[in-house]
């Protein structure tokens, strides 16, 4: 990289996360800065973003275990009852010939949440070590986590529709299992963790002069 490019924080400028306006930070007299256009609170970096993201991420890791081990769907019919975990649901789709949907559910319910947990861990660790490797790729990874995370709600919606429709007395009844709660928690917790993470921290090690931390 040639001469260090200027960042807003290094120049004492604040950008508003609501309306995008860049304004000069008020003098170091303390107090909180507000956006001159939309009056939102301004921060150089998301306050306590990293520690909040860690807390949410660890909670998500814990919930990930019951989400995969407990049944997400309980089916009872004349032929007995059956419990489905997320994985056995994928296997059912696969063995009944819907390979494309099996692949889709596998990606949305197993791969995406796992990749999200790993990616956020990687981002948080790298930011705390003030790592300088591959900043563009790490920023891209963060963008991917933000965009793809919502798709892991897929299984929750599938269970919702099945549980509402298949209520035919003793013939067949489907109810949502405890893993649905844990899985919903994983999705929500990782979404909040991604929101708390500040991708600008990836770039801060390249700007030694930026001492403006809020």
């Amino acid at each position: 990289m040639n001469a260090t490019p200027a960042t807003a924080a290094a120049c004492g400028l604040l950008s508003c996360h609501v309306c995008g306006l860049v304004s000069r930070a008020p003098g170091t007299g303390g107090g909180t800065a507000h956006c001159p256009r939309c009056s939102a609170r301004l921060h150089f970096r998301k306050p306590n973003g990293t520690s909040r993201a860690w807390a949410l991420l660890i909670a998500a890791y814990i919930m990930y275990i019951p989400a995969n081990l407990l049944p997400i769907m309980e089916t009872s019919s004349l032929f007995g009852s059956e419990n489905d975990t997320i994985m056995s649901g994928v296997i059912f789709l696969w063995s009944s010939g819907s390979w494309d949907l099996a692949g889709l559910v596998f990606i949305a319910s197993i791969l995406v949440p796992l990749m999200k947990l790993i990616a956020l861990t990687l981002l948080l660790v790298s930011v705390q070590c003030r790592a300088r490797w591959l900043p563009v790729q790490r920023t891209r990874l963060y963008r991917l986590v933000e965009q793809v995370g919502r798709w892991s709600m897929l299984d929750i919606y599938v269970v919702t529709i099945l549980a509402a429709l298949v209520q035919i007395g003793s013939l067949a009844t489907i109810t949502a299992g405890p893993a649905a709660l844990a899985f919903g928690a994983v999705v929500v917790l990782t979404m909040f963790a991604a929101m708390q993470f500040d991708p600008r921290l990836i770039w801060d090690p390249f700007h030694q002069e930026s001492q403006h931390h809020d």
Partner: protein, 218 residues
């Protein structure tokens, strides 16, 4: 070339913007309508260029609102097993979960498929109508913050995919009767994507406050 804010003022000073993903300062440049300005360091999206007219966006949002109402009012799908028929719409599905003691999940489904998309559509209409008439919407700052926090939680496109997966699972042991809401959801998903692509947050601010005080230019 360098967008450093301390360089001497040029004749046409443009607003300085900071990338939300890497904090790099850059001077806002003109982008052809519908185009996207990207950060030259990290490639993050800085802003989209505004369309000249708000009408297409407004039309998309209004059409989406109508379809959203239809999608919620009519059954998504019906199921027939040995002559017994069961039908559900979206709110009925939420209620079923609620009654099965899956209240947090029922709340999550309600939020992501009904409440958040409804608030999102209402807010966009509330913003676009006055702006089209050349007025600043009342309570703009609050509304824009609501829009920002609501946006990530509307997940109708994921729900649409969920319907498809559920139907495929059901066809193995029952007769599935698609309802009107199913088609509405399909079209609604496309309309919402088009509306989101054409709705421009930066343009809303620029129309409401053409030259804000305190803005750094270079």
């Amino acid at each position: 070339m360098s967008p450093h804010p301390t360089v001497a003022k040029t004749i046409t000073a443009r607003p300085v913007i900071a990338c939300h993903e890497c904090d790099l300062l850059q001077r806002a440049i003109a982008v052809p309508p519908g185009g996207v300005a990207r950060c030259r360091r990290c490639g993050g999206e800085l802003y989209r260029a505004a369309h000249r007219r708000l009408d297409p966006t407004l039309a998309l949002v209004l059409a989406a609102a109508v379809l959203f109402a239809v999608a919620n009012a009519f059954p998504i799908v019906g199921l027939e097993i040995q002559g017994i028929r069961n039908v559900t719409n979206l709110f009925g599905a939420v209620q079923a979960l609620w009654n099965q003691e899956m209240r947090p999940i029922a709340a999550l489904v309600f939020l992501t498929t009904i409440l958040m998309p409804a608030v999102n559509l209402a807010v966009m209409i509330y913003l676009l109508l006055p702006l089209k008439l050349g007025r600043r919407p009342a309570g703009l700052t609050v509304i824009m913050r609501v829009l920002q926090s609501v946006k990530p939680w509307g997940m109708l496109e994921v729900f649409m995919l969920g319907i498809i997966v559920a139907l495929v699972k059901l066809t193995h042991f029952a007769t599935v009767v698609p309802g009107l809401a199913l088609w509405s959801f399909a079209v609604l998903t496309l309309l919402l994507a088009a509306a989101a692509a054409s709705f421009n947050v930066r343009d809303v601010w620029d129309r409401a406050y053409p030259a804000p005080r305190g803005e750094v230019r270079a």
